[in-house]
């Protein structure tokens, strides 16, 4: 498809100065992505899935500065969890600050070092799931990332990982523009938990491709940095094999703009894929979850559970689709998106979609927007619970269904305590 000149120019400006292809399989994958990208162009507000979220600050050449954020006395996410810490600073992997990446059942290689070695599994994954995820909806920011990212990790689980791997994204610059691309392979019967936390960069463009082979289990829990002014576009591309499990949960508290795309394909029979999110926004906050769940095999189960708590003019967006392909019989698909609007100034925009080409399926979706239940609030107060504690309890209750998607109780508890902290800091 021919692009209008303006779109071509915008893309040329955006990629000017970014890293170029390089050699080997990685170079080839980047070149392929660059070609695909030039056919697509960058997203604009006119694109169907960018109607509720203006991508301009994500696509323009200039990075809008984001002030560094004082986290005060709050401990970093997952602090109490025994985990392997892998640290990025403004999107650049920093082995010196990281733990020794030796972990039973897991192989970890920096993307930076991967181009010259033939890591066959990564070669079959890098840019591959991303490219598959471009149909039927284009996601050019992911392709931009595939074409130009030089940082990221290649993580392969061959057995049961001894502990979770935590990708920690520190930020030291007010104008950093980072691109990080991870590939994760969970081999047949293996199990891995990946955690992510930290703001990343002033502007963070991220891709994570996850391939879960037959009977594999993958858990992903992410806390998107509290930095109020950072902007992020993240993409999760997953392929879930037969009898495999894929679970992803994201907590977003603050951030000026966050767009989280999840593109998941249930490719083998009896697979399970759950994606969930809890977003807390106060003020100048725009948060967009865009999910595309494809059932391409029989007897798979998918769940999408997204909850947003919004106040002082914060905006939440949910665009979620369940696509059931021909032959994907006995599909069990569920989707819920809900917002709790703590005042009249905040806004929730939801676009749930079902597209079903098989006849023996069970799919449901629902979307609601509501205020806090004043009657429940009074009931709690009448039992002596102070109003703000009562309000926190009700907000946590509202989010409970999303948090319940985290299997590990210690991690779920960490998430709950962060939510309580957020609520305490954002009273009134």
């Amino acid at each position: 498809m021919a692009q209008p000149q303006a779109k071509t120019d915008a893309l040329a400006a955006r990629v000017a100065g970014l890293a170029v292809a390089g050699s080997g399989w990685l170079g080839a994958a980047r070149r392929d992505a660059a070609v695909r990208l030039s056919a697509m162009g960058l997203p604009s507000r006119r694109d169907e899935y960018w109607r509720y979220t203006d991508p301009v600050s994500l696509t323009q050449t200039v990075v809008l500065p984001a002030a560094l954020f004082e986290t005060a006395d709050e401990a970093p996410a997952f602090d109490g969890i025994d985990r392997l810490r892998l640290v990025f600073v403004d999107g650049v992997f920093d082995p010196a600050q990281s733990d020794d990446p030796t972990l039973a059942g897991v192989e970890i290689t920096a993307l930076r070092a991967a181009g010259t070695t033939d890591i066959h599994w990564a070669r079959d994954l890098y840019g591959v799931l991303e490219a598959r995820g471009q149909t039927p909806v284009q996601r050019p920011l992911a392709t931009l990332n595939t074409a130009h990212a030089t940082e990221g990790l290649l993580i392969r689980a061959t057995g049961r990982a001894a502990k979770p791997v935590d990708l920690i994204y520190l930020r030291k610059s007010e104008t950093s523009d980072a691109m990080v691309h991870h590939c994760i392979k969970v081999e047949a019967g293996a199990e891995l938990t990946v955690l992510e936390n930290g703001p990343g960069a002033a502007r963070f463009t991220k891709v994570m491709e996850v391939d879960v082979a037959e009977g594999g289990r993958f858990h992903h829990v992410r806390v998107q940095g509290r930095d109020a002014e950072r902007r992020a576009a993240t993409h999760l591309f997953a392929r879930v094999g037969a009898n495999a499990l894929f679970k992803s949960f994201t907590l977003t508290a603050n951030g000026r703009l966050t767009r989280n795309d999840a593109v998941i394909e249930l490719a083998g029979h009896d697979g399970v894929a759950h994606v969930a999110g809890a977003a807390m926004g106060d003020g100048d906050f725009h948060h967009d979850d865009t999910v595309f769940m494809t059932h391409a095999a029989e007897r798979c189960e998918s769940r999408q559970v997204f909850k947003k708590v919004l106040k002082n003019g914060a905006v939440g967006v949910f665009q979620g689709k369940i696509l059931v392909k021909p032959g994907a019989q006995k599909t069990d698909g569920y989707q819920i998106s809900q917002s709790l609007l703590l005042d009249g100034a905040s806004q929730f925009l939801a676009k749930p979609e079902l597209e079903i080409y098989a006849d023996d399926v069970k799919c449901s979706h629902g979307s609601t927007s509501g205020a806090i239940d004043e009657v429940a609030l009074f009931y709690l107060q009448s039992r002596g619970v102070p109003r703000r504690v009562a309000q926190s309890l009700l907000v946590l209750a509202f989010l409970a269904e999303a948090i319940a998607e985290i299997d590990d109780e210690a991690i779920a508890e960490d998430i709950r305590s962060r939510l309580e902290g957020w609520l305490a800091r954002h009273e009134g």
């Binding site: 009074f378 709690l380 039992r383």
Partner: protein, 251 residues
């Protein structure tokens, strides 16, 4: 204990007057009952005392051991010793009953400057009290009142009362929707809490609850006023003759 003087209440958003000068004085350890036709303002009185929004007090006062109830936030009234067993207990999806109870007990202790109960102590006490009310472990785990039968909700109210040990207990139609056995359980729960320092205001339609919870004083409320006050025999009179005679007499 509870002193209500000339209490006038209207709806905040409308010009509808509900209470038109209620006077009520309940001494320590006493049990008072309020009876009256539907719509006479009984629940409104209990809500205004507990601090529910939506009502405007246009005149009068209400004090608990001298403390001005009407000036306090609902949670502080509770910490001061006031408890309302709701006519319609509220369902709170997502909040476990046990979490709710522990949060409430410890919040009140904190407000009063007392140490919080340890998880172990709390569990021990709650299990013991739940057992006497025939509330099983499952009901304690489930979200507050969600999926509870009418009787279970009312027993859950009494459990909260037993845990919070208030000084002034208001029971708003706690007997409605209860079968004979449940009524007995609830009454026993209430009677177990009767003591010199604790007073009760029992709102009911029916004499039969008052067979179990014996009142010292019975009031009849109609159209936002207490129109008659007497002993337990007044409840029997209502049971036998209805309100018609009393209403006519008051006119």
């Amino acid at each position: 204990m509870l002193e209500i003087k000339n209490l006038h209440v209207k709806l905040e958003e409308e010009d509808k007057v509900i209470l038109r000068g209620v006077d009520l004085s309940i001494g320590a350890g006493e049990v008072h009952a309020i009876m009256g036709p539907n719509g006479s303002g009984k629940s409104t009185l209990s809500y205004v005392l507990a601090g529910r929004e939506g009502y405007a007090v246009t005149d009068g006062s209400a004090t608990l051991d001298g403390a001005d109830m009407l000036a306090m936030e609902p949670e502080n009234r509770a910490a001061a010793g006031l408890f309302l067993a709701f006519q319609y207990p509220v369902e709170i999806p997502g909040v476990g009953n046990m979490t709710f109870l522990r949060t409430a007990v410890n919040a009140q202790r904190k407000t009063r400057g007392e140490p919080e109960l340890s998880a172990g102590d709390f569990l021990k006490i709650v299990r013991e009290k739940a057992k006497t009310l025939k509330i099983d472990a499952d009901m304690l785990k489930r979200p507050v009142n969600v999926g509870f039968s009418g009787g279970e909700k009312k027993r859950n109210e009494i459990l909260q009362m037993a845990m919070l040990e208030p000084r002034m207990c208001i029971l708003d139609e706690t007997d409605s929707g209860l079968d004979v056995d449940a009524m007995k359980l609830v009454s026993e729960g209430v009677n177990a809490l009767r003591s010199e320092g604790r007073s009760f205001l029992v709102i009911t339609h029916y004499q039969r609850l008052l067979d179990h919870i014996k009142p010292d004083v019975v009031h009849i409320m109609a159209a936002g006023r207490i129109i008659k006050t007497g002993g337990p025999e007044l409840a029997l009179e209502v049971e036998n003759n209805g309100y018609a005679d009393l209403l006519a007499e008051a006119q």
